[in-house]
Symmetry: C2
């Protein structure tokens, strides 16, 4: 999977403002880039076709919203670039960590460990209560 620059900006905006029409997106993006309304329209449509956006009609226009959460998309993207270099059975995230860890500071390591702890709790809960 690969996303172009415009597509990324569109997604970024939709995460912050779900349920907006092309005009709004275009107006907002005007701060960052100089694309015609039609160009933005095309990007929206491409993303919609890719399944990354949903839309519903209201009056004349469609209201778009991101169908995928930011973190999920990041995870997907990481997987798509890392998986080719990761042998089966290995988690691409873990491989990725080996790669990126050197750029992480203590605060980030703390944060990650915290998340791991939360996940451990989840696992425990699942162990005892689930069927």
């Amino acid at each position: 999977m690969f996303l172009g620059e415009l597509e990324k900006q569109v997604l970024q905006y939709l995460w912050s403002s779900p349920g907006v029409d092309v005009k709004r997106v275009h107006a907002e993006l005007a701060k960052q880039r100089d694309s015609s309304l039609n160009t933005v329209q095309s990007a929206l449509e491409r993303l919609f076709k890719k399944g990354l956006l949903s839309r519903e009609k209201q009056g004349h226009a469609y209201l778009y919203r991101a169908e995928v959460a930011r973190n999920d998309l990041i995870a997907k993207l990481i997987d798509s670039v890392a998986s080719d270099f990761v042998s089966k059975g290995e988690s691409s995230l873990i491989a990725a960590f080996s790669s990126v860890s050197t750029e992480m500071d203590e605060a980030q390591l703390d944060r990650l460990e915290q998340l791991i702890e939360i996940q451990r709790q989840q696992l425990k809960k699942g162990d005892s209560s689930a069927d």
Copy 2:
């Protein structure tokens, strides 16, 4: 940055066998794909131009080797694909972890925590010894 299929295969092979010539690479890749020698040559050259390979002449031919470690490349790729979605100071990996954590089992969590520990040691070392 984006790498094509052939380029990935070439890199993969060069990590396992550094310092080989086009002929060798071509012969090896013949197991996976059916490209002409020239095609492989082009891929090598493109990767070289991208700075991902180095080469030195020996006799007629160049011997190629990967200039970037696997993990470093993964890190780069992750960066290129996720950076736009991640604000400064945030780690794309941590964002991704939020999404993937639910699929990780205890062994993987252990492994990850272990890697975190290693990284903490690295940070400490850097703290005290660096200028």
